[in-house]
């Protein structure tokens, strides 16, 4: 089986077989990252453009490393706010980049749907590296990869996703992916951060963290966007942290050996106590390492001639 698509814009659009293929392929690339010479020639002569309309050092670096380990040429392009002010549309920008023979465009954009709009407008392959609150498919795939690597079986796996679900592309992509794989998903956060009709996506909604954590196999914490304070979503960081922060004591409510995940960067002492982030249950650094292998897998699978 091969990935018969030009783009990767969402987890929602992937079939179960495609998710499995990506995870299996990433598994093979993990070996490459363990070598002394961490480079293979698979994407020699291909050009990957990281088109980032939002700052994100981590995701961009991960994609850059993945592309370089595949021998692709990588260009980082962060349109200045000035060209946006000048009225240049996303497609204008992308077509300019395409004219430079980009094979794959990795897009990070503050607006939901930007990746799909771009994918429909250019011939290059488009990989969504996060679009607004919509999806962050490569993050979810690396999360799934990490869970699978820790020998977890997705069928019936109990996963609690904690934090600002409404404004989180990481949460959405994971919800779509985990539900396709048959996991039981719990979403936890203050009601102001739970989007409407979330229950209709097969997710159980909790407002009480302690109750939600009981018996879960995976605790997936979301990053609190501190700038949202003052938008009436939560009264103060102090109160948020007390109600929804993960402490060592709370981790003990979960199944023994439960994994603690976080897409990074962690607000230590806000959504997660420092000792939890550094604890044995935390797989946060595995997630980062797996991110490169998963992105190599995706770049490889999408690198066929268009």
């Amino acid at each position: 089986m091969s990935l018969k698509r030009k783009d990767l814009v969402s987890i929602a659009s992937l079939t179960l077989d495609e998710i499995t293929l990506i995870l299996d392929t990433a598994d093979s690339f993990k070996e490459v990252s363990g070598r002394e010479i961490k480079k293979v020639p698979a994407l020699r002569g291909k050009t990957v453009v990281n088109l980032f309309f939002e700052p994100s050092t981590r995701t961009r670096t991960s994609f850059e490393l993945a592309a370089k380990r595949l021998s692709a040429d990588v260009i980082n392009f962060s349109p200045s706010s000035s060209s946006v002010v000048k009225g240049e549309t996303l497609l204008d920008t992308a077509r300019n980049i395409e004219a430079m023979q980009a094979d794959i465009i990795v897009l990070r954009h503050p607006d939901a749907g930007a990746a799909e709009t771009l994918a429909n407008g250019v011939k290059s392959s488009v990989i969504n590296a996060g679009d607004g609150w919509h999806e962050h498919p490569t993050q979810a795939l690396l999360d799934l990869f990490t869970m699978r690597e820790k020998k977890l079986n997705f069928k019936g796996l109990r996963v609690a996703i904690v934090g600002d679900i409404a404004h989180s592309r990481v949460a959405r992509s994971n919800i779509f992916g985990l539900s396709k794989l048959g996991a039981e998903i719990r979403a936890v956060g203050p009601p102001t951060m739970i989007p409407v009709h979330l229950d209709r996506l097969g997710v159980r909604v909790y407002y009480d963290l302690d109750e939600a954590l009981r018996g879960v196999d995976v605790i997936m914490m979301l990053r609190l966007q501190l700038e949202r304070q003052g938008r009436a979503l939560f009264p103060s960081i102090r109160e948020y942290s007390r109600l929804y922060g993960l402490t060592a004591e709370r981790v003990r409510l979960a199944e023994a050996g439960a994994l603690v995940m976080h897409p990074g960067p962690v607000n230590r002492g806000v959504e997660m106590a420092p000792e939890v982030a550094d604890s044995f249950s935390s797989v946060i650094l595995d997630q980062v390492a797996n991110g490169v292998a998963v992105r190599m897998g995706i770049l490889y699978l999408l690198s066929g001639a268009n």
Binding site: L90, A112, E116, T117, D131, E135, R200
Partner: protein, 373 residues
């Protein structure tokens, strides 16, 4: 043969946005869709908040020689919601109603004063009902689809609270209130109750709000982006019920042309609105086909009812009326092809739809202005 159709809600884009549409192309689209009279919204650039803009519009309409154009003036200067526009002068220049369309009057005191002041001229006050705080940043209905797509939502309540406010102010001031493009079940319910209590209110809905739901947004389809947004199946049912029982008086298009490059953007960046003049009649006749409305009632909501709401001597074939006539083949089936629109713009979610009911000939003031035969 029908009386020429009357549209209370169009955007002709001139002056200011001639690349989207002009008075010439917009009125050509109108007559192609069977509309012989259109009321154009003041959100041009500059805003139609004074006599000279109104006169300019009327002059361009006369030169175009297509449909009758009835300008709607601004409620506040620059539609900024701060100071009242010179409503008396606008009335004198030919405006038939006032509205800050697209920029709802958020300040309830200003709205109260506008309604009171308009009483002097018996001018209808139109409001685009939207609480801008509740809808802040939103670009589609808040519901299952917005949750799945991660798009910021506009809750029904953003419309409902302003409908409630406007009805309360209409009751207070006894002004003539016209509620533009209602989209929610809550609005229909409140208007029904208000009418039964004798408040002077008329209400309009747009064909897209009874033909489509939020599902049309899937795939980030910018041709399904409008404000108010497409709502749910329940809202569509409530609107149809409102049309049937007379709660909703008028079907208007909210014809809002946008150039291809405007709509070819990520969903949040794309402007609101669709073109509607050339698809409104068949979409309305579909309600007759479905059995929701009688043919007479459907036609009335496109002719006599809108004319009555704004006090226009239009929409009737009675002896002595203007010779504004449209010949329609109600059985003719056709496929919506935006490439054939008379409007400059092509932004419709109905492309490829098989519809029934076609305008054959349109006559304005005794002159054939459109002939498809």
């Amino acid at each position: 043969m029908l009386p020429g159709l009357v549209d209370l809600h169009v955007h002709l884009r001139e002056p200011g946005f001639e690349y989207k549409d002009t008075i010439q192309t917009g009125t050509a689209a109108a007559v192609a869709g069977g509309f012989t009279s259109v009321c154009c919204m003041p959100n041009t650039s500059p805003v139609n908040d004074n006599q000279s803009i109104t006169e300019f519009i009327l002059e361009q309409a006369r030169l175009a020689g297509n449909a009758h154009v009835f300008p709607v003036g601004a409620i506040t200067k620059g539609s900024e919601g701060k100071e009242l526009a010179e409503i008396g002068e606008l009335r004198h220049a030919g405006c038939v109603a006032i509205s800050d369309d697209g920029q709802p009057v958020m300040n309830s005191l200003i709205m109260r004063r506008a309604m009171e002041y308009a009483l002097a001229f018996d001018l209808p006050v139109i409001d685009h009902c939207e609480d801008l705080h509740l809808s802040e940043g939103g670009c589609m209905n808040e519901g299952l689809v917005s949750t799945q797509l991660g798009l910021p939502g506009i809750p029904s309540a953003a419309e409902d609270v302003m409908v409630a406010r406007n009805l309360a102010l209409a009751e207070l001031t006894t002004a003539r209130l016209h509620l533009a493009h209602l989209s929610t079940a809550g609005s229909v319910r409140m208007v029904r109750a208000a009418k039964s209590r004798g408040i002077r209110v008329t209400a309009e809905v747009c064909p897209h709000h009874f033909s489509l739901t939020e599902e049309a947004v899937r795939g980030f389809n910018t041709h399904a982006k409008m404000n108010p947004p497409l709502r749910t199946w329940q809202d569509v049912q409530a609107i149809k019920e409102g049309l049937r029982d007379g709660t909703i008086d008028v079907i208007a298009t909210d014809h809002a042309p946008h150039a291809v490059q405007d709509k070819q953007q990520q969903f949040a960046a794309a402007p609101n609105g669709i073109v509607g003049l050339e698809t409104a009649l068949p979409l309305t006749l579909a309600l007759v086909e479905e059995g929701f409305l009688s043919l007479e009632a459907a036609v009335a909501k496109l002719t006599t009812e809108p004319a009555r709401a704004f006090g226009l001597s239009k929409g009737s074939l009675a002896p002595g009326a203007d010779a504004d006539v449209v010949m329609v083949d109600p059985e003719a089936q056709w496929e919506v092809d935006p490439a054939r629109f008379r409007s400059k713009s092509r932004n419709t979610p109905f492309a490829g739809w098989k519809v029934k009911g076609r305008v054959i000939t349109t006559i304005v003031a005794g002159r054939v202005v459109h002939d498809a035969a």
